[in-house]
């Protein structure tokens, strides 16, 4: 019995030491830090300790994290495949390296579709006026995103026109008008229940006449399975092109980070109706991760450009794939 006793004692002693250590102030800080690190990479690190290759419990863990971030089954499988291929190719030594591989592979998927002529708020090299058409289903935050876009452009000294083509939802025009006052943008509206295409046209004309730098058109939220409303978007686009043939330079589909796999269907239908070329991911300040954009960005070859992180006018950022992937795994 002696030898077992000895082992047991040693264990007890060790755990005591750990307890003592944890109660000291430095240890508290340390464990606090550890807690933030006890994210996926922490968990993943544990899963591979002492193993010569990536095993199924590690992959299960990875699968759970990706699925619960709304990445979706298909894209999760793709990420895991890419990851496994990479692990096979580049031998790794430590858990850290595995983490880096994983981050790099997901970031690569997101960055693959980034346009080489990325136009930020300074609008360097952009057409003038630069026309942005904003579309999406109900309640994703289109109008708020537009308000924040207007603010950011204004901060860069740009002249902004806002077109209130959401003439349907109660008080939507008022909401946009308040944003125009906050940001000093020129506001074009024909009131509620008017023809949205007519509003879009007038906003375009006003933008050209007043030599604005940016024209942003708000549209009514529409569920993507309502055919007539989707056709209306096509019409809005056509009337803008009557005045500026190469516009709209940006068609932004706004996606709510808390939306699940239905976002795929949204992307599909909106792309079919208006050739969406930009994604905005809103409400990332909540608990949802919006992982569905990885799959959408990949499958539809549309880059994510903007992210919304709050309700204030400053709460809009340009998307940074590497940073996003980090937060995805820092739960």
């Amino acid at each position: 019995m002696g030898i077992f006793d000895f082992l047991k004692k040693k264990k007890d002693h060790e755990s005591k030491a750990i307890q003592e250590k944890q109660s000291s102030p430095e240890a508290n800080l340390e464990s606090g830090l550890e807690k933030t690190k006890e994210s996926i990479f922490g968990k993943l690190g544990k899963a591979i300790i002492g193993k010569t290759n990536v095993d199924s419990s590690f992959l299960d863990e990875l699968e759970e994290i990706l699925i619960t971030s709304d990445v979706g089954v298909e894209t999760t499988i793709k990420i895991i495949d890419r990851f496994e291929a990479r692990v096979k190719r580049d031998k790794y030594l430590k858990a850290d390296e595995l983490n880096t591989f994983l981050k790099e592979e997901i970031t690569a998927i997101l960055d693959e579709n980034k346009s080489p002529h990325f136009i930020d708020f300074s609008l360097a090299g952009a057409a003038k006026p630069y026309v942005i058409l904003v579309v999406g289903v109900n309640g994703v935050g289109k109008t708020t995103t537009i308000g924040k876009l207007a603010y950011n452009f204004a901060q860069h000294g740009k002249k902004v026109v806002l077109g209130a083509a959401d003439t349907f939802r109660a008080a939507a025009v008022d909401q946009l008008e308040i944003w125009s006052q906050r940001t000093g943008a020129i506001f074009i509206s024909k009131g509620m229940n008017t023809d949205p295409a007519a509003v879009a046209y007038e906003a375009t004309v006003a933008g050209v006449d007043q030599e604005a730098d940016v024209i942003i058109i708000d549209t009514a939220g529409r569920l993507h399975n309502k055919v007539n409303l989707m056709n209306e978007l096509g019409k809005i686009k056509r009337v803008i092109q009557k005045k500026i043939p190469e516009a709209p330079q940006e068609v932004v589909l706004v996606l709510d980070a808390s939306t699940g796999q239905n976002a795929f269907e949204q992307a599909k239908q909106f792309t079919a109706a208006t050739e969406v070329n930009t994604l905005a991911l809103t409400k990332l300040d909540g608990t949802a991760k919006g992982g569905v954009v990885i799959g959408i960005s990949d499958q539809f070859k549309i880059p994510v450009k903007y992210i919304g992180v709050g309700e204030r006018k400053e709460d809009l950022q340009l998307f940074d794939a590497a940073q996003y992937v980090s937060t995805l795994f820092n739960a």
């Binding site: 089954v73 289903v137 008080a171 949802a288």
Partner: protein
């Protein structure tokens, strides 16, 4: 990936079809498919796992005892488990106060204000006179939005444009309801993130101040994995009494419903779809489960029809049909009745077996417009007696309705076919037809 949950499950069952018995091997494949289908429908990861494990257990247990086709058996097991997960029986609102107070909470953009309007309209149509309280003091024009809706449905809205204190507004709204004799107050609040401590404290304060009879959490049916977190957080702070599933239109899969129900153990009390103020339904777990499974929701359809169909008018039509005197004016009336029931595509989706087939079809209420215009361009005489329509009259009708003579001819042809069909149906024994199915 784009397939709806029911379609995926149908696919999963197909792999079982033609196989005599449920074995470990074919169950594994089907269960995997079901799990994937659930995940694609945004059912929470853990819940999907537990659910499929349970289904598998049930299925294997029954294997020895039964000789029913595996597909049928699986459908039944999955349906039963789904129904159970969605929460046994239907639960209505418990309203007992004077006035009864309903507090509405949820994330930004989940559809709180629209739902508040619909709920007010729901009470109004039952003869009660609710009062709406506008407590979203943050989002630009939110109060305005509620006022516009209130005006639309003819319900009073209590609002204080200058007041930025939702607790005060809610309290005053209730006092106002007492004064005016409104039996119900619906308190619309601002959207908030469940991790925004200040905002969660605020709504908790509103709750304490007004002691609502019902606290309803509005959740977007399109919500993904986060539905569980949000529902849990809101429930922890507010101890909600029920959940409202909004935007349950068309292809929305509604997996969030399953997740929320099983995590917070609170009933889903309403489902809301579309922006029409009438588009609100009481939640029926059993129907939702069979809808998910693609078994159709014929009971909802019948109830919808009963709500909206004019009995007298229906009796008159039946008589006319029996005498084969159904005319174009009756046809027009019928179209308008159907439109009152809501979106055609939604209605068709409720018919068993039709659900998946119309997914990509372009039917909606707008497609009736052309037909209506043509009939409306006819004189009453022409409508009762379409044979009157000669070339001259047809071109006048076409002009009047903005269509072509071909369109008019097409409609007339369809109408004649319909009449023929009715004639044939009258000759058949209706009773035999209805009974013959079972």
């Amino acid at each position: 990936m784009f397939d709806s949950l029911s379609k995926r499950l149908e696919g999963a069952f197909k792999t079982l079809k033609g196989q005599g018995r449920i074995s470990e091997i074919n169950v594994a494949e089907t269960v995997k498919e079901i799990r994937r289908a659930l995940l694609d429908a945004d059912v929470n990861y853990k819940i999907a796992k537990t659910f499929t494990d349970k289904v598998k257990e049930e299925a294997l247990g029954q294997n020895v005892l039964t000789s029913v086709s595996p597909g049928q058996l699986f459908t039944k097991i999955v349906n039963d488990e789904l129904t159970q997960l969605l929460g046994g029986e239907t639960e209505g609102l418990k309203l007992s106060g004077n006035p009864s107070v309903i507090l509405i909470a949820g994330l930004q953009g989940s559809g709180k204000t629209t739902f508040s309007g619909k709920l007010a309209n729901h009470f109004k149509s039952k003869g009660q006179k609710p009062l709406l309280a506008a407590c979203d003091v943050y989002r630009p024009a939110a109060i305005n939005q509620l006022q516009v809706l209130g005006e639309q449905i003819g319900v009073d809205v209590y609002a204080e444009i200058e007041n930025k204190n939702p607790v005060e507004i809610a309290k005053k709204a209730i006092a106002e309801a007492k004064r005016l004799g409104n039996p119900i107050v619906i308190v619309d609040t601002a959207g908030r993130l469940s991790i925004d401590q200040a905002m969660m404290d605020e709504i908790a304060a509103v709750k304490t101040a007004i002691q609502p009879n019902e606290i309803l959490l509005v959740v977007d049916a399109m919500t993904g994995q986060d539905a569980v977190t949000t529902a849990e957080n809101f429930n922890n702070v507010l101890d909600i009494t029920g959940v409202v599933l909004s935007k349950l239109d068309g292809d929305t899969r509604g997996g969030a419903a399953l997740s929320i129900k099983s995590v917070v153990q609170r009933p889903i009390k309403f489902v809301s779809h579309g922006e029409k103020m009438e588009a609100l339904d009481v939640f029926h777990p059993d129907r939702m489960a069979s809808r998910i499974l693609g078994m159709g929701d014929i009971v909802s359809l019948v109830e919808k029809a009963q709500d909206n169909f004019d009995e007298v008018e229906a009796a008159r039509l039946r008589k006319k049909m029996a005498k084969n005197k159904f005319d174009l004016d009756d046809f027009l009336n019928q179209l308008q009745q159907i439109k009152k029931m809501g979106n055609i595509k939604d209605l068709m989706g409720m018919i068993p077996g039709v659900g998946n087939k119309i997914k990509d079809l372009d039917v909606d209420n707008e497609s009736f417009k052309g037909i209506e215009a043509i009939i409306q361009s006819m004189t009453m005489q022409e409508r009762t007696n379409p044979e009157l329509l000669n070339g001259n009259r047809k071109s006048r009708v076409a002009k009047g309705s903005g269509s072509s003579v071909q369109d008019v001819n097409k409609l007339l042809k369809q109408f004649q076919d319909m009449r023929k069909m009715m004639k044939a149906m009258n000759k058949m024994n209706m009773g035999k037809m209805m009974g013959g199915n079972k």
